[in-house]
């Protein structure tokens, strides 16, 4: 809107100046020149004020944002396992040339840290109570999503079998809530680069 006004005004002044060229008239010439000068000063003044006024700041990342994307949650969880258990360092490193003792020592670090994270944010329990090797009876209507059957499986339950793995499940998940998500950074880094200063 302001731009249109500006262009319209500039156009008008141009027409006036062309007019006095075409139809020279001493009074009209002086009048148009004064008018043009005043308009020029006005434009300069307005332009300077517009520059001095800072551009309206873009919306800062406010405290209540849209919920973080699923990728952000996953990456944040992986970042937890890396921070406390060094899981990404461990999985990304070349293992072929390392001795068992070295891998074992690193595994202790990963074990301690990852266990801490799992214990803190989940309530992990076995799906099936009992020891591995126990006899298991599955009645019709058993929770098929929580069991995996191996070997010779008849058409329909009841099934008799041996427990190979008790399974794991967690009735609750309470992970930290993510903050600091912006357009520029939709999910956090898995681990920040570390720089030592002396």
């Amino acid at each position: 809107m302001a731009k249109k006004l500006l262009i319209g005004a500039a156009g008008g002044i141009l027409v006036l100046n062309v007019g006095i060229l075409v139809f020279p008239d001493p009074n009209a010439t002086v009048a148009v020149e004064i008018f043009s000068a005043l308009c020029g000063m006005a434009f300069l003044f307005l332009g300077a004020r517009a520059e001095a006024q800072p551009a309206r700041p873009s919306e800062p990342a406010s405290v209540c944002l849209a919920p973080p994307r699923p990728e952000a949650e996953i990456i944040a969880f992986l970042a937890l396992l890396q921070e406390h258990g060094r899981l990404v360092d461990f999985a990304r490193e070349e293992i072929a040339g390392a001795t068992d003792a070295q891998v074992g020592a690193a595994a202790r670090v990963v074990h301690a840290g990852c266990r801490k994270v799992l214990d803190e944010y989940f309530d992990i329990q076995p799906v099936h109570p009992g020891q591995e090797g126990d006899r298991v009876a599955l009645e019709p209507g058993y929770d098929a999503a929580a069991h995996r059957l191996l070997g010779m499986v008849p058409d329909r339950p009841p099934y008799q079998g041996k427990l190979l793995h008790p399974g794991w499940m967690s009735p609750s998940v309470k992970l930290p809530r993510i903050t600091g998500i912006t357009e520029r950074q939709p999910w956090p880094v898995i681990a920040p680069a570390e720089v030592e200063l002396r």
Binding site: V63, E93, A98, Q102, K174, L175, G180, P188
Partner: protein, 603 residues
């Protein structure tokens, strides 16, 4: 429905508990920043503040649900974790600075000895921010706490200045006038509640109970006597200990140094960050060894901070002998009852900082406490009566308890509890037993909530305590002026030990002359071992007393007097209903009273 709040403002960790009218108190989960971009809940709030550098958090520090504006600093778990990597920007153990005698505790001094921070914080400010955080948590968990129903714990060894600063922090945080409770008493209240009526089976009339609280960075001892009258049992606190900066963290550091030397000797020295990881690893290894007697050694894997985890993790182990040598025999040696801890050498140049204990042997500190407790009880006929008579005193140079209540993370290890009981039993000549059923975590916060409820409803057994110390004002003895000799300072007892809430004493017979319109200063002393002194007693010297603060007062001239005149006043002390000690000067003819302010003694 009213709820009662107990706040444990700890040196390393804070906790908050809430008790509703009839039910068991529960620990509230504390929302805090747990990582650079995560907010989560934990039962403990580490008492750490991290001051980030400019541009470290371009999107702002992790925003808490109640913070309207992004803050330039972080407190809690993330602050402690991030600050461990940048120790110059981390404030920890601010509470221990509240009772430091030579530091301006309201001035910007923390982080101590750090050049990295332009705007430092005061210990008072840190306490206030921690309390504000905990208040927000309690608001989001239910109703906003009503000041009359909030109890904040302090160590029993905190003097009046430190207690006053804690109260001030609570005022600044918006809590109003709170009640303070000593931590060992809070742990005892939590135990009483957990046992229910069955506690009488474990503690009988005539018993002396030791509350032995050794946490991460501090150790605190208190003695509580059980008295019986007509079948009714009652409890009275008879002695408190000094503020000891010694705890489980010292043990972990000692073990870490031993292992680090072992590694350096075998040609694999550790860098600074590996040492940090070693302290953590050693803590878990120590707990494993102390809880499983069959284990001969616990393996230690010390990662470096590089991404090459497998290639750069150092391996070693912590042996049972090392734990026995350092943790058990180094910190809890079996010593004779006369062995006192080595004190700091007077007159050596020492780096200023927190007054950490010079001797790591907690056993010796316990011996010193029990010796001083005996001196305290011996000085007061009332306390002698409470513990069952003078025969108990005569048996030994120490006042030996009959049973011990353990508190603090250090005593999660059964081996250390057994060692302390063994030590005490040796001193006593009779077995000393443990009070069963102590909950090492959160006992202090739970006990504080229980006490808040107890005060408001009157239901439950209260430990009779009152002021933990006796207090004295210094008076210069009237004597002839002798060049080069300072006049002797005498001490006038103004508040006896055990002065109860809602009582006051007017000191008759001693009159001070104050110049009106000028600031007058008085030296202020206290003692934990002189329970027998009554208000108005004049001690010939101050050598046995501890000086903590000085009192300042400027009196306007009473009507009928000119400024600059001397006016005779007498002293009156009062302990308010909330347990705060206040001192007044009273001008008898007009009845005007003026309150004395405690000021830190700066040197």
């Amino acid at each position: 429905m009213s709820s009662y709040l107990g706040i444990d403002l700890g040196t390393s960790n804070c906790a908050v508990a809430r008790a509703a009218a009839e039910s068991c108190p529960e620990i509230l989960q504390i929302t805090q920043a747990v990582s650079a971009n995560g907010i989560g809940e934990k039962a403990l709030l580490p008492s750490a503040v991290y001051l980030p550098a400019e541009g470290e958090f371009p999107e702002g520090t992790p925003a808490l649900p109640w913070a309207k504006m992004p803050r330039g600093w972080v407190l809690g778990t993330f602050a402690r974790d991030r600050g461990s990597l940048q120790p110059d920007r981390l404030i920890v153990s601010a509470k221990s600075w509240l009772c430091h005698p030579h530091v301006d505790r309201s001035g910007p001094v923390l982080p101590w000895a750090s050049d990295a921070i332009a705007h430092k914080w005061s210990p008072l400010e840190v306490s206030r921010q921690l309390l504000e955080h905990l208040i927000e948590i309690s608001k989001s968990a239910g109703d906003a706490p009503d000041a009359g129903h909030v109890v904040v714990t302090v160590p029993a060894s905190f003097d009046e200045t430190a207690r006053g600063l804690t109260l001030e922090a609570a005022q600044l945080a918006g809590l109003g006038e709170v009640t303070l409770l000593e931590e060992p008493q809070a742990a005892f209240y939590a135990w009483l509640e957990s046992q229910g009526p069955g506690w009488r089976k474990q503690a009988r009339a005539g018993d002396l109970l030791l509350v032995c609280d050794v946490g991460g960075g501090t150790a605190d001892f208190s003695l509580i006597a059980v008295t019986g009258r007509d079948g009714e049992l009652s409890l009275e606190r008879v002695a408190v200990g000094e503020h000891l900066l010694l705890g489980g963290d010292n043990m972990d550091l000692a073990l870490a140094h031993a292992v680090s030397e072992k590694l350096a000797a075998s040609g694999k020295p550790l860098d600074e960050w590996q040492f940090l990881a070693l302290v953590q690893a050693v803590r878990s290894a120590k707990e494993a060894l102390l809880s499983d007697p069959a284990l001969a050694e616990a393996p230690l894997a010390i990662p470096s901070r590089s991404s090459k985890l497998i290639a750069s993790t150092a391996r070693t182990s912590l042996t049972r002998d090392e734990v026995a040598d350092i943790a058990i025999n180094g910190f809890f040696p079996i010593c004779a009852p006369e062995e006192m801890p080595a004190m700091r050498r007077a007159g050596g140049i020492r780096e200023s900082g927190l007054p950490y204990a010079a001797d790591a042997a907690i056993s010796k500190h316990l011996a010193r406490f029990l010796t001083r407790a005996k001196a305290n009880v011996s000085s007061s006929p009332h306390l002698l009566d409470v513990i069952g008579g003078a025969e108990r005193i005569a048996r030994s140079p120490l006042l030996i308890p009959d049973a011990v209540l353990f508190n603090g993370g250090v005593f999660n290890a059964a081996a250390l509890r057994r060692r302390v009981l063994e030590l005490l039993s040796q001193w006593a000549g009779d077995p000393v037993r443990e009070l069963e059923g102590a909950q090492a975590d959160h006992a202090v916060a739970l006990g504080a909530a229980i006490y808040a409820r107890l005060r408001a409803t009157g239901n439950g057994l209260r430990i009779k305590s009152g002021t933990a110390r006796s207090y004295y004002i210094g008076m210069e003895a009237a004597s002839l002026a002798v060049p080069g000799r300072r006049p002797v300072t005498k001490a006038l007892c103004v508040a006896p030990q055990g002065m109860e809430e809602g009582t006051s004493h007017a000191i008759v017979g001693q009159v001070f002359f104050l110049y009106t319109g000028e600031v007058s200063e008085f030296r202020f002393f206290h003692s934990e071992v002189r329970a027998g002194d009554r208000p108005g007693d004049l001690l010939p010297g101050v050598s046995e007393l501890e000086e903590s603060a000085h009192l300042e007062i400027a009196i306007p001239p009473p009507p009928g007097h000119e400024p600059g005149e001397e006016v005779p006043v007498s002293v009156e002390t009062q302990v308010t209903e909330l347990g705060h000690l206040e001192l007044f000067f009273v001008h008898a003819p007009t009845g005007d009273r003026w309150k004395l302010e405690f000021h830190i003694r700066m040197q």
